[in-house]
């Protein structure tokens, strides 16, 4: 995948913190954040995943003029799609070399990692795919390394 440019912005961090119910001023109040050890606003640890906003081709965002698999006139805008549960997120790991904040402009590159299969009682055959994402800052320094594992299930995960 091509490199994605991820400008880290204060309003995005504020909205992200709200969406996880985190009222810590270090995520939204520049004056209060200055007095903390962080020295200014920083992003919550799992914020890095919001790089999806800056991926022009991100497949989980509806795009003008293109069919979308969610509901509209019908239950799915893409007919004939298998009723499989599609991909689910199995694991996510972050390693922080530095905590990012507003003003950082990250260059983000994702590379495929290992893939493997497993049989499960709750969802049939599971296909796992790993990807490694490196976030570098405007000085070329590695700031975050992320490892993500996605799983595609044979059928929806049974509950209970």
């Amino acid at each position: 995948m091509a490199k994605i440019t991820f400008p880290v912005e204060a309003s995005h961090i504020m909205m992200f913190a709200r969406s996880i119910g985190d009222t810590n001023p270090v995520y939204h109040d520049a004056e209060a954040a200055k007095k903390t050890e962080a020295g200014g606003i920083i992003a919550p640890p799992s914020f890095a995943q919001s790089v999806a906003q800056f991926n022009p081709d991100y497949f989980l965002r509806p795009k003008p003029g293109q069919p979308w698999f969610g509901s509209g006139k019908t239950a799915s805008g893409v007919e004939g799609k298998a009723s499989s549960s599609g991909g689910l997120h199995a694991e996510q790991h972050f390693e922080f070399h530095r905590h990012i904040g507003p003003g950082d402009v990250l260059s983000v590159e994702t590379k495929p990692g290992a893939s493997w299969e497993k049989e499960s009682k709750r969802a049939g055959k599971l296909m796992f795919r790993e990807s490694i994402t490196e976030y570098r800052d405007q000085n070329g320094n590695l700031v975050i390394t992320a490892r993500s594992v996605g799983v595609t299930t044979e059928r929806p995960v049974s509950q209970g």
Partner: protein, 139 residues
Amino acid sequence: MALKASALKVGDTHSERVVDNLSRTQIVQYAGTSGDYNPLHTDEVYTTQVAGYPSVFAHGMLTMGLTGKMLTNYVGDGRLTKFGVRFTNQVWPGDTLDATATVAAIREEGGVKLVDLTLSTVNQDGKEVMTGNATARAD
């Protein structure tokens, strides 16, 4: 406030209720900020009629974010060096989640004091929805 290594011992825990009665609206809010608009999280019609689930469910990353709130409250701002999780069960609208960090090790690496934590987030039925590990710099 950062952790003080000398005041910690293996087995110490910190718990927080990180969400009470999770709303579909909060899941929508998370979709908007993360950019993950997978209809499995926000579109009840698609999720029940096409995907075959009983209702929409939260992004795993929302559970990670909620758990991260407990974690940063405990270890201090900007102190995490590692944070990794496995999503073990789905989180549904109406769920109430409690997240716990347990001190697994206190060590020093290159003169830096580090605390290793194991993480567990459970729902109102005591079912574990996420497990994980984290490492933070301590004083």
